[in-house]
């Protein structure tokens, strides 16, 4: 479970995140939407403990990430298209390295499970740098699930993927959350993906959460046809709601 309380981050004169609050319960996927530079990555980085908040606090399973960072990171993980795994290692070597870093017991069993569910069996011994972007994405997802996290942060997990691979990842996540006790924060620009996966959506702009609700509720509330139109309306609105 994630609780974000009055969270702010300032860089010199720039306030990147302005006193935001939200909770993500167990077996919930919450979407974080907003234009580039609105504070999504900053928020995720603070949840991961990579960035120190200027104000506020983040509780993961009731414990403050600032004071229990290492302990909590054992049960958290992250995937982003801007972060890669070492290219000169094979897929299996990468998964073993991260399994060791996260102190995973029964490593072979975990890798077998992830390779079969994420269709990695045929590429386990391939160099990670030689994989297609779809394959790399599935490997990164396997890495992010290697420690069986209870908190998963997904930053554009299907960016630049072909529709089939994107659909596979989304179906995988839908099934995964049914089987495991996990809280997921999904930052994405793919509105259909957010609508399909998320129980609730937060719209971010200029460091603030300007609206939130279930995807269908937001569409109805703003009188638009789909989530993309809601996003565009909110992004173009000068005064925040």
């Amino acid at each position: 479970m994630i609780e974000v309380i009055n969270l702010s981050k300032s860089y010199q004169n720039n306030e990147a995140v302005k006193s935001i609050n939200f909770n993500i319960g167990e077996n919930e996927i919450i979407g974080l939407l907003g234009p580039n530079g609105c504070g999504k990555t900053t928020t995720i980085a603070m949840i991961l403990g990579l960035l120190k908040p200027t104000k506020g606090k983040i509780l993961i399973n009731k414990k403050n990430i600032e004071y229990h960072r290492i302990e909590l990171l054992h049960k958290m993980n992250f995937i982003s298209p801007y972060i890669e795994l070492p290219k000169k290692l094979t897929v299996k070597q990468n998964l073993i390295v991260y399994a060791k870093l996260y102190n995973v017991k029964k490593i072979d069993q975990r890798i077998d499970y992830l390779s079969s569910t994420l269709r990695l069996n045929k590429i386990l011994n391939n160099l990670t740098g030689e994989l297609s972007s779809g394959q790399k994405n599935r490997v990164s997802l396997a890495k992010s699930l290697i420690n069986n996290p209870s908190v998963l942060l997904l930053d554009e997990p299907t960016a630049s993927l072909d529709p089939e691979t994107g659909n596979f990842i989304r179906s995988f996540l839908e099934d995964y959350i049914k089987q495991k006790k996990i809280s997921i924060l999904l930052a994405s620009h793919n509105m259909e993906e957010v609508k399909r996966l998320c129980t609730s959506v937060m719209m971010m702009k200029n460091g603030k959460i300007i609206d939130r609700g279930a995807p269908r509720e937001l569409i109805k509330k703003h009188g638009r046809k789909n989530l993309e139109e809601v996003f565009l309306k909110l992004a173009r609105t000068k005064d925040e709601l």
Partner: protein
Amino acid sequence: MYGLFLRHFFLIKSSFPRILDLIYWPTIQIILWGFISKFFSIYSDYYNNTVGIILTCAILYDFLFRSSISFNMLFLEEIWSRNFTNLFIAPMKISEIIISLVFTALIRTLIGLVPAILITSPLFGISILNLGIPLFFLFLSLYIFGITLGLFVSSGLIRFGPSFENIAWSSLFLLAPLGCIYYPIEILPEFFQILAKGLPLVFIFDETRNILVNNFVDFGNILHAFYLNAIYLLIGIYLFYFSFSKARKKGSLINMGE
């Protein structure tokens, strides 16, 4: 052609570290070889009876160089492969990161150095093992200093990102003239002697030459080097923690390698 020239000219013009880099290497090379030449012109008979002092010092210096670069390379590899963030969201304490880098760097260094030591005997009839038991302490002292330099540079990489990379390569060359690797400290101008005495290198290489020339071990030199090493190592560790803390405030851990 002019377009290609401009592409590189603009790059150099807009980057002070690149300009500094262009000036840095020739300057350091000239200073280092200037002192070496001065030493040989004044003390031309110094090494007459001791074959291999220069080669032994070169091997020791290379050990220092490899250990420091190995430490830095482990960090740079993570930046180049854009894996840096993955490393820092893994549940590893800073102390665990430092310890794992220290041991991995040692293995990398030995892989490179052992063959070099082995070929000096058949090729040049010289064995670094002639230094005897003190060789272990000299290697240990050099390794600690190499790791310490690695900590300084890695702290810079954490705090300032890949732009600090050039420093990683050049840090040891800056210290080479002051380290008195191939000549005694007396060859340096007085002001540089004061600076040099603050480095463990002077005591390590002075002792190496002392053992090989006089067949006598002055443990005072070795101990002095260890005292200085201890001070620098503690500063290096503190700096690493400090840089991590600063990077968490400034956000430089997020976009590393992008």
